[in-house]
Symmetry: C2
Subunit: 248 residues, 2 copies
């Protein structure tokens, strides 16, 4: 039986010009910070940008953006994402609430389809999706449900982190999903291991972001976040690769 | 229908005195490094220790321990884990190989049951399990399949990391799963946020491990690993809490 909601998803996203999935191999590499900062940066540069937090394992963009509890989506023939700091925002937390519902695979899949089917993004130049880390059921569901998705991958310099990125890149290649490039976050010493490995895999290396111990204090304060080393570096990467990120 | 393998799992683990699941909220907090170091430390202290890597999302203990490719489990009425650096070792990679099989929930569940049912640990004082991060299907399966499991939880000082730990602690409390305590890893500046939050939740705060940028170079070299700041701190925590970790 075909789930009628799947046809609705195409309809809901048809006015969204570009869809960027920010993903990682492992968790804890700064994926959510980079997804949030990228969406904010695109909004500041005048693009109509959205941020969609689909990280079921640890949704955190609401903490990063400092979303107040009284800001919630409006219901109107679906759900209209609220505007926050100049971008349209929707998160799985509006669905699951604060309790970490130990959802089984099928329920997660169902929640994802529901969220994608009910959210009315309307016209956007770019929708940034904060993905669940690595290769999971949810990752595969999103690949299946959003046809025009492109991946932006975050790693750290660690061999352990890159090991899982390598597997993710193999999967995306096999499934013919476009990869915009890889960002190396939390860089601490000179090493070209990641750049070389990425380039060898035929993928664009977009740049490195130095480890920034002040970042924790910028959580919840978007102006401060955009002024951190990470914020400035994302701005630089966005300017250098605007055609890659938001082709017109 | 009852899967006959579930009865076998109890049988396989009946000579294992203590089972410690090393878990985290988010990934990338050092869970695999701490699980590996804990198992190695217990082995060096004369305990019969085992390490079981069940982190489907990014198995990495084989890289941390520097497991040579020619060391593989032996088949003999099940699978006998090889001895590596004084501990019995088994990993999901022996099942899935190098390719990141995009296993769906049911297949993961099946692979877990299979691995638990075929592995012959025989007599052990302590089996350390490197868990998948956070609350996933695999986490719930393991809770269901291994009755006597206790949790040791790793977090970083980050509010984003603790947010997911809080949810995991709530789930474990609801399911009445014992929690040995929480280790705060990658500590960089003075802050008692984690210690206070953990103690407020009625859980033991086992200690903090300073951020160590030399750790990456110790991957694959266990002697060097045990001499890092993390190695020495895990030894200290093991000595202080031996009754908690390995009650006789």
């Amino acid at each position: 039986m075909i789930d009628p909601r799947k046809a609705i998803i195409d309809e809901r996203l048809k006015e969204v010009a570009n869809i960027i999935a920010v993903s990682s191999g492992k968790g804890g590499v700064g994926k959510s910070l980079i997804a949030s900062t990228l969406a904010l940066t695109l909004a500041r540069k005048g693009y109509r940008a959205g941020l969609f937090d689909l990280d079921f394992t640890s949704p955190s963009t609401h903490l990063i953006l400092g979303v107040k509890e009284d800001i919630t989506p409006k219901e109107e023939k679906g759900i209209i994402p609220p505007s926050i700091h100049g971008l349209k925002y929707m998160s799985i937390i509006y669905y699951s609430g604060e309790y970490a519902a130990p959802l089984r695979g099928e329920d997660i899949s169902n929640a994802l389809i529901e969220l994608l089917a009910i959210t009315r993004w309307n016209g956007l130049d770019c929708l940034v999706i904060d993905m669940p880390p690595g290769i999971s059921d949810a990752t595969l569901d999103i690949l299946r449900l959003i046809k025009r998705i492109k991946f932006l991958i975050v790693t750290t310099p660690s061999r352990l982190a890159y090991e899982t990125v390598r597997k993710l890149l193999n999967l995306l290649r096999d499934l013919r999903v476009p990869v915009i490039g890889v960002i190396e976050n939390m860089k601490m010493k000179n090493s070209d291991f990641i750049r070389k490995s990425v380039e060898k895999a035929g993928i664009a290396y977009l740049g490195e972001i130095p480890f920034d111990r002040q970042l924790e204090d910028a959580i919840g304060n978007v102006n401060r976040l955009l002024e951190t080393g990470l914020g400035r570096k994302i701005m630089e990467i966005t300017e250098k690769n605007s055609q890659l990120l938001v082709p017109r």
